[in-house]
Amino acid sequence: MLNPDSVGRTFAGTDVITIAQSEIDAFCAVIGETDTTIAPPTFSIRITLTQFEEILTQPEIGLDWSRLVHGDQKFEIFSPVKAGDGLTCAATIESYRVAAGNEIVTVRSDLHRDGALVISAWSTLVVRA
């Protein structure tokens, strides 16, 4: 079970993640996108998913990743991501509830470039009973 005290906490990623052209190329290749000058709209999941998996599975937070399914996902894109961008990612546990034994947690990930918000992404994750 998720520790309820963690709801509302923000975990500020301090590392700057530099986006390589090869990462954008690989993502574009899968979906048949020929314009590789800009990252596709859902590309940032590559950064956010890895980060909040690390956060949510810490023993003090306690989410069971092995029974997890993705419930829904939303992106607000303020500025397109390109190769060479240095991004930081802060994850906030926005909400948590239990319904029919399933745990439902929403995490907001805010990606910044040079202090400016680039993308906010909301991921709702469901840990099946």
């Binding site: 048949g32 990252a39 999941i45 590559r46 894109i77």
Partner: protein, 131 residues
């Protein structure tokens, strides 16, 4: 003329096991339910299923094409209602279409439909683009 209610042309994408492997590498999501049939069955799934985010990435391509490029996609959200099941050796359809739901200040809102084998796989799928 683009107006509220305009239905955009349908596009069909195909998903197979090789694509799931490529997407796992491109996205970093190596969950075995998307690649290993034995594992998928062991956790109660009918077969290997596509990453929900792969489905969403393909719909994102559809939206980017409509918008004249990914740079014009401002918002995109969806609920994963049913898994897209990918049996070995098969190319499974992902059929995408959209309807213009709002036009305000040069921004177009789309309500998106995504089905696979006739089953709706995304719910509440919406996007806002600048066009």
């Amino acid at each position: 003329m683009m107006e509220v209610g305009t239905v955009l042309p349908e596009q069909i994408f195909f998903i197979n096991r090789a694509m799931l492997t490529s997407y796992a590498d491109a996205s970093g999501d190596q969950n075995p339910i998307h690649q290993n049939e034995e594992f998928a069955l062991s956790v109660g799934l009918p077969n290997v299923i596509a990453h929900g985010m792969l489905t969403m990435a393909l719909v994102g391509k559809y939206i980017s094409d409509f918008a004249g490029g990914a740079a014009n996609v401002l918002e995109f959200g969806a609920r994963f209602t049913k898994p897209v099941i990918i049996p070995a050796g098969e190319n499974v359809d992902l059929t995408v279409s959209a309807t213009v739901s709002e036009i305000v200040d040069g921004k177009i809102s789309l309500t998106v439909s995504a089905t696979s084998a006739g089953v709706k796989v995304l719910g509440m799928a919406k996007a806002v683009v600048r066009k």
